[in-house]
Amino acid sequence: MSAEPAILDTARPVAARPPSDAWRRLFRHPGVLVGGFILLFMVIVGLCAPLLGTIDPSGINPTVRNRLPGFERTIRADDGTEIPFTFRMGTDSLGRDVYSRVLYGARVSILVGVIVAVISIVVGLVIGLIAGYVRWLDGIIMRFMDGLMAIPAILLAIALVSLFRAGLFSVIVAIVVPEIPRVVRLVRSIVLSVREEPYVEAAIMAGTPTPKLLIRHVLPNTVAPLIVQGTFICASAILIEAILSFLGIGIPPETPTWGNIMAEGRSLFRVFPHNIFYPGIFLALTVLAVNMLGDGLRDTLDPKMAQR
């Protein structure tokens, strides 16, 4: 045995980059700032709806049907006293306060968007990892996913909703199922390229068991693209929920959702446009905000994609 070699070159930083760089860029991106601000506003509105001068969003009052925004009338409060109340956004054809319904509607919309995004990403991630890594399962899984993608999302959702009782849960399932194949495809393509990386092969040579290998070396590469994809799924889920509700096959009409309010106002749209106008504005703003946030995240987390 010869003597130990001298230390030739110590670990001198060649290209030290502060790891907080991405975060700093993130909070300076205008899309992230504006989208995040609007979204935060919507979340607060939904959470604090009872404190923002609303009344029971499902309370029917036949004496004040179809009033224009700004209509004033004394109403009976919960404790039985008569108080003056301004219907800021008017009332619908059953006399319900549109302002209250729109604010409470934010809860359902954002809840549906976030839950759908989380479930479809988690399920899609697991299926995608398996499809990308276990070669013999790939064909079977992907043909099944192709089959799912061949059916228009709305039609599939309608079919699924009609199988269960209409409600929040069945709507979420109905929106999640058509979203899964998109996530699976994304994850699978990342896995397919990452599994060829020499550091993954090095881990195989190190005897790392497959589940550990996937979680430790492959999974981290999917995080940034999935966060971005999640925002787009969230935006599309909010829209699809509104569409399903608008078509009358989503969440039951007594529950206030933006789609339900618009469906309610559809028949008298020409005379009383406010029933569609206000929830429409909230819906459009929320979806815009989520998309801006998603674009911003993509630009900062995955600069390569932004240049395309």
Binding site: D9, A11, V14, E201, A202, G207
Partner: protein, 539 residues
């Protein structure tokens, strides 16, 4: 040299963006290229040789690399002051460039003829028929077979060497005064490289073009250069006639570079008599073949390969791309499953074991990969990468870290590297880390798959020494895969030459180099650049 130079660079300085490891990419660089002359800029990665070339072409990334001083005179005209419009006119007509990667420099959806024709279409008033005649003419002059037919071929239908010929044709079709060649043969096989070098030299002599040739390979320099410019860290270290610089370098840096070039003449080595560590019998790997709906073409990537590596021995497998050398290595490492044949590790045959039963044998064979930038997970610390394997085999974290520390010291790195991330290390340092990671598994067999090919020549020599040292220290059987004959001559005890999946020659290194039996081995040896020069003899 006669008359005014074609290219005259006078104290050029190009600034790097803030936060880089030095102020300027290129500093006070002066050099000139005359008519009918090949000037080689040679240097290691980061020496500024490519930046110099890109400055001349006006191709620097805007706003990132900015020329801040000096002049670049192309036939007396300063291209640094030229408008973008004027630069476009100059490119193609007065100066042209060929790139390293012939695969990506051609547009895959346009025919070859179209792409050469494009230069004429943009820069001349010629009619379609004259243009086509001219294109066919230049394609014939670069010795492409059947130019009429190749005119309508697409890039994927021709070989890498032919693609590089097409790039040269497109560059020279308008007879520019200056041709810039940026590592044009680095991505090519050694026999193809020899042909392309001969072609560039021949065309340059016939047309009287001035050539600025950028390379990191002193063999290529010896082969082609009239004059040599040596660069280091953005500065010119030494320049002069090729013969003088190569034979009598005045600067220590130049001398170090030239001495680091491995010699093509192996020292005689005693045969190794240790026990056989790994052995293959009739190993074959066939790619493709029968899909569900169609019959695919099959490729015999490795065909009936028999090899045995003894402990303490280095077996080199050399061959060009597509020869199957990497396939053999990956089969032995069981990163892929061989189609047939046996892989004997001591008494066990691991050729067809499923992954679960293979695990106990994994630690006996370890691999050092080619690309040091991709073989370490960028998200994990060096320490985490090194201890992953030992911990998979039951070592506690503390013991694994202790082992990692002593191995890092052994490969010449300080143990505080454990907490750092791979991007903080240079290519050579990363390859040392990869070697430490392989050693942490206490293997019997170490496979080095082009492990020094991505490294600069001076770093290459150090890593080769390290490999040789650990082989002796741990009594390892080393399987060394390389396309580089010089490297193989330095480190291998025995050599196997592969061509198209078949082992064509096998023997002790000095015998294979001094008395090659197979014509393919002879062709490889003849094609090695700078063969006549005798690098490394003095060392």
């Amino acid at each position: 040299m006669q008359g005014e130079p074609v290219l005259d660079i006078r104290s050029l300085t190009v600034r790097l963006p803030g936060g880089a490891d030095r102020m300027n990419a290129v500093e006070e660089v002066s050099l000139s290229v005359h008519r009918n002359e090949i000037v080689c800029i040679v240097g290691e990665s980061g020496s500024g040789k490519s930046v110099t070339a890109f400055t001349v072409m006006g191709l620097l990334p805007k706003g990132i690399l900015v020329p801040t001083g000096g002049e670049v005179l192309l036939e007396g005209e300063d291209v640094l002051k030229a408008t973008p419009q004027r630069l476009r006119d100059l490119r193609g007509t007065r100066m042209a460039m060929i790139f390293q990667e012939p695969m990506t420099a051609l547009n895959p959806v346009l025919t070859i003829g179209d792409q050469v024709d494009e230069v004429l279409r943009i820069h001349t008033q010629l009619g379609p028929r004259e243009r086509k005649a001219k294109v066919i003419d230049i394609m014939a002059s670069i010795r492409l077979p059947d130019p009429e037919r190749l005119f309508d071929a697409y890039p994927h239908q021709i070989s890498g060497g032919q693609r590089q010929r097409i790039m040269i044709a497109a560059a020279l079709v308008l007879d520019p005064a200056l041709l810039i060649a940026d590592e044009p043969t680095t991505a090519l096989d050694v026999t193809t490289q020899a042909q392309i070098l001969a072609l560039i030299k021949d065309l340059q002599r016939r047309r009287g073009t001035g050539v600025l040739f950028i390379t990191h390979d002193f063999g290529v320099v010896a082969e082609i250069a009239d004059r040599v410019v040596v660069m280091q860290n953005g500065r010119v270290v030494e320049q002069g006639p090729a013969e003088a610089v190569l034979r009598r370098p005045t600067q220590p840096y130049t001398r170090m570079l030239i001495e680091a070039v491995p010699s093509l003449e192996p020292k005689p080595r005693a045969a190794i008599a240790g026990p056989v560590a790994v052995e293959t019998v009739g190993l074959s790997k066939i790619y493709g073949g029968g899909g569900l709906f169609k019959k695919e073409r099959t490729v015999r990537a490795a065909d009936n390969v028999n090899l045995a590596v003894r402990r303490g021995e280095t077996l080199g497998i050399v061959g060009e791309s597509g020869s199957g050398k990497t396939t053999v290595a990956r089969c032995i490492a069981r990163l892929i499953a061989p189609s047939s044949g046996a892989i004997r590790l001591k008494d066990a045959d691991i050729a067809s074991l499923p992954e679960r039963r293979l695990r106990p044998y994994r630690r006996r064979i370890q691999v050092v990969f080619q690309d040091p930038y991709r073989s370490l997970n960028p998200r994990r610390t060096v320490g985490a990468s090194i201890i992953e394997g030992p911990m998979n085999f039951g070592l506690s974290e503390r013991d694994a870290l202790d082992r990692a520390r002593s191995l890092l010291r052994l490969v010449g790195l300080s143990p505080d590297a454990l907490e750092r991330y791979p991007h903080q290390f240079s290519g050579g340092q990363r390859q040392r880390i990869a070697i430490a990671r392989a050693l942490a598994m206490e293997p019997d067999v170490l496979i080095a798959d082009e492990a020094v090919s991505a490294l600069d020549v001076s770093v290459q020599a150090q890593v080769l020494d390290l490999l040789d040292d650990i082989k002796r220290r741990f009594d390892l059987a080393v399987l060394f895969i390389t396309h580089d004959l010089r490297v193989a001559a330095q480190i291998c005890d025995r050599i196997m030459v592969m061509e198209k999946g078949i082992v064509v020659e096998d023997g002790p290194t000095h015998r294979v180099f001094n008395a090659p039996e197979h014509p393919y081995t002879r062709a490889l040896l003849d094609a090695a650049p700078g063969r006549g020069f005798g690098f490394g003899k003095a060392a």
